[in-house]
């Protein structure tokens, strides 16, 4: 299973690189090739505007990875900072920050993202913003919980009594111990951000035409399911395999890095 997940991941990462190198013609419209089945010219067939599905899949995954990585990095930075501060200081700071977190947690994430995009307007920038606004909460809760228990560890108390500053305590003595658990969380959120991006694009609120996005391709593909099933199948299977691989990768990381599971 590990090898399976890894090989799919490597496959898609290679696809991103190949896409970068080849310089794809993903937006070239050919009205004579509309919904063509796979052929020597279009290996995976053509979409509803005669564009090469393979090229669009490769372009779509670049968008997917770009959005997922940017959103994950930003949400992690914000969430971990909030969580560390709340867990470290406790008391009123903790109560205040956690109240805010709870408010965000009370909304269904994707609905909040849809609302933000509807207000801000569609487009990749606003999409990233909307996903960031809703995504940091899980990191904050996770980091806070861990920090609370790490706060009173001997080595932290020792460093504190030796006069270490708060930033030094947080970055040098607490954060490294959070590393593994955050890594696992990041992997899962990578997958969920990809799904969220696809969902918003599926609703027409994400990446704007003519740029390729798997969500938008799925939406178009569904419309032609009866006449050109290859379109929706190719995109659906691609998305499924990537998300599955990332989640399996996350499971593997958790097994390796989470001390609690190992002890069991």
């Amino acid at each position: 299973m590990k090898i399976f997940a890894l090989s799919i991941l490597i496959f898609w990462l290679l696809a991103v690189l190949i896409g970068q190198v080849l310089g794809l013609q993903a937006n070239t419209i050919d009205l004579n090739a509309i919904l063509d089945t796979p052929s020597a010219q279009n290996w995976l067939g053509a979409d509803d505007l005669g564009r090469d599905i393979l090229a669009r899949i490769l372009e779509g995954i670049q968008v997917s990875f770009f959005v997922a990585i940017v959103v994950t990095v930003i949400t992690m930075l914000v969430g971990v900072t909030v969580g560390l501060l709340a867990g470290f200081y406790g008391g009123k700071v903790d109560a205040f920050l956690m109240k805010i977190t709870d408010i965000f947690l009370a909304f269904p994430g994707i609905l909040l993202a849809i609302a933000f995009v509807a207000v801000l307007g569609a487009g990749i920038g606003n999409l990233v913003l909307a996903l960031c606004i809703t995504g940091w909460v899980s990191y904050a809760r996770l980091a806070r919980g861990q920090t609370l228990s790490l706060r009173n560890r001997q080595h932290v108390l020792a460093a504190e009594s030796l006069g270490a500053t708060v930033p030094r305590l947080l970055v040098k003595h607490i954060l490294p111990l959070l590393g593994s658990i955050l890594m696992v969380e990041a992997t899962y959120s990578l997958a969920s951000v990809m799904i969220a991006e696809a969902s918003l694009s599926f609703l027409g609120l994400g990446i704007q035409a003519p740029n390729a996005s798997w969500g938008a391709m799925l939406r178009d593909g569904v419309r032609y399911m009866l006449v050109a099933p290859h379109y929706v199948l190719v995109v659906g299977l691609s998305l499924m395999s990537l998300i599955l691989a990332i989640n399996l990768g996350g499971d593997y990381l958790r097994d390796k890095m989470d001390v609690r599971t190992e002890a069991n």
Binding site: N27, T28, I29, L31, N32, I34, L35, D48, L49, A118, G121, A122, L203, G204, L205, Q208, A209, P210, R219, D220, V222, R223, Y224, M225, L226, V227, A228
Partner: protein, 498 residues
């Protein structure tokens, strides 16, 4: 004892058990089979004083009858009454036939008065402004009514298309919106999830079922869960249906005008050459041939060529010529590539068309940025003039007054539909003269809209459905005469899921 008699109690029991089933079978074998019509969007309001969405207007045409309707060339045609202008301000109408409402009341001039008076008294009716010019209405006798206007209006007769409602119910503030009572060929029966209508002439039951997703609509038609569908399908699915055995597809010319609206206050788009360049940068014939249903045709004016206001008018469509377009842009002193923003709804078909136009315009040095917005935001932006280009379709337009409302300088929203804020003294003069051929010609050369096409109409139905043809404006008038023949075996009904 024979085995039969020995088991008599068991037989009796089985018979009693089966009895309701037998009765049910008998019931379902009534000669008039329900006709189920799959529609993309259910009507919102069946009160003709309030209805604005296409589905409601199409249903209202069948439930109610107006004084006047339009013929094939969009000239007013008499329905309930004949009328004439007594002088510039007074119009006299005489009811022609003896007509009864569905509740049994006879339709008289009092009902006509009650309908129009209530329309005038309603402040929140979207149609009230249209009739603000009516000063008073006066009933002479049961058959005769006089409308007195405040100002002369030569098009007044063609405005009387509001369905007549019974006076007794109007006075009681009856909720026509969900319980309509009219005098048309179809009588309202019930409206839970599906809208059920009964044809008064032969008790034929007609059900309108909302099925939003086009693929699901096609599947339901294929499975025999609905009997016909009309419009709102990608052309690929229409072609797919044409190959299906047991399904008939009928197509016809359309009269609904699709266009690109331009913001005439925009620094770049103010320049006629830029607008001409855009018109020459779109290969409309290629789009029609490849991604639209058959019988779609290139448009040059809001009203189609067969319309009476257009009949002697020859408008030469703008040809696809990217080289010329580029040349025009350079002459206009525009720095290439010219960047423009195009707003459209999130509807997949609209985005698809926008993407093709984007690729075509790129050839002419125009970089089109597509913004697909949810319908509410999009339409609000269009009304507010917050756009460079937008794409929309005029549905069911019959009177040439649309030219004044869409382009007259007195008709900026909210007074009219001049969303591009186009202001042209020469056009205003022609509009005032009601010189429609000259108006159309002027608009065609000045290009406040880039004309696109009239999308073809089509209907797909089970092969036992007869007497239904698509109409140019997409209305459902065929439901008044549609037939289902019981001779062709129908596919078994699926279990009722709802």
């Amino acid at each position: 004892m024979t085995p039969m008699l020995k088991n008599f109690p068991a037989f009796l029991f089985a018979f009693l058990l089966a009895l309701p089933l037998l009765i049910a079978c008998q019931k379902s074998a009534t000669p008039k089979q329900e006709i189920r019509f799959g529609i993309a969007q259910a009507p919102l309001n069946l009160d003709p004083r309030y209805a604005t969405d296409a589905a409601s207007e199409r249903v209202n045409r069948l439930i109610y009858q107006p004084l006047v309707d339009f013929d094939a060339t969009s000239k007013p045609a008499w329905i309930l009454a004949h009328g004439e202008a007594i002088n510039a301000l007074d119009y006299k109408f005489t009811l022609q036939k003896k007509v009864n409402f569905h509740n049994g009341d006879a339709l008289t001039a009092h009902d006509v008065k009650a309908t129009y008076d209530s329309l005038l008294s309603l402040k929140d009716s979207p149609h009230a402004a249209e009739f603000a010019n009516i000063d008073t209405t006066e009933v002479i006798d049961d058959k005769t009514i006089i409308f007195k206007l405040k100002q002369a209006d030569t098009n007044f007769i063609s405005k009387l298309i509001i369905g007549i409602m019974p006076k007794s119910l109007v006075e009681k503030s009856h909720t026509f919106s969900h319980n309509p009572v009219g005098s048309g060929p179809l009588k309202f029966q019930s409206w839970q999830h599906d809208l059920k209508l009964i044809r008064t002439s032969d008790n034929q039951l007609i059900t309108l079922q909302e099925v939003k997703d086009p693929t699901v609509r096609v599947l339901k038609l294929k499975k025999g869960e609905i009997d016909l569908i009309q419009g709102d399908l990608p052309p690929e699915l229409v072609k797919h249906l044409q190959t299906m055995p047991g399904i008939l597809v009928d197509t016809g010319l359309g009269a609904n005008y699709s266009y690109l609206g331009l913001n005439m206050q925009d620094g770049l788009l103010k320049n006629l050459k830029v607008r001409q360049a855009i018109a020459h940068a779109i290969d409309r014939q290629a789009i029609i041939d490849k991604v639209m249903v058959s019988n779609s045709r290139i448009a040059s004016a809001i009203l189609p060529p067969e319309h009476y206001a257009n009949s002697d008018n020859v408008l030469i469509p703008y040809s696809y010529n990217p080289t010329l377009a580029k040349k025009l842009l350079i002459e206009a002193g525009v720095k290439l590539p010219l960047k423009l923003e195009y707003k459209t709804s999130t509807d997949a078909f609209r985005v698809r068309l926008a993407t093709i136009m984007q690729a075509q315009m790129a050839q002419a040095g125009i970089e089109l940025e597509i913004k697909s917005l949810d319908w509410g935001t999009f339409f609000a932006d269009v009304k507010a003039g917050n756009f460079q280009l937008y794409g929309l379709t005029w549905v069911g337009i019959k009177t040439p007054e649309i030219y004044a409302k869409a382009f007259g300088s007195d008709y900026f929203p909210p007074n009219g539909f001049n969303r591009g804020r186009y202001s042209d003294a020469q056009l205003d003069k022609l509009l005032a003269e009601e010189n429609w051929p000259a108006v159309t010609q002027r608009i065609h050369t000045q290009l406040p809209y880039i004309p696109l096409w009239y999308e073809g109409q089509f209907v797909a139905m089970q092969e036992n459905i007869k007497n239904y043809t698509p109409k140019p404006d997409g209305n459902w008038d065929g439901l008044a005469i549609i037939e289902t023949s019981a001779t062709i075996a129908r596919q078994p009904q699926k279990a009722q899921l709802q």
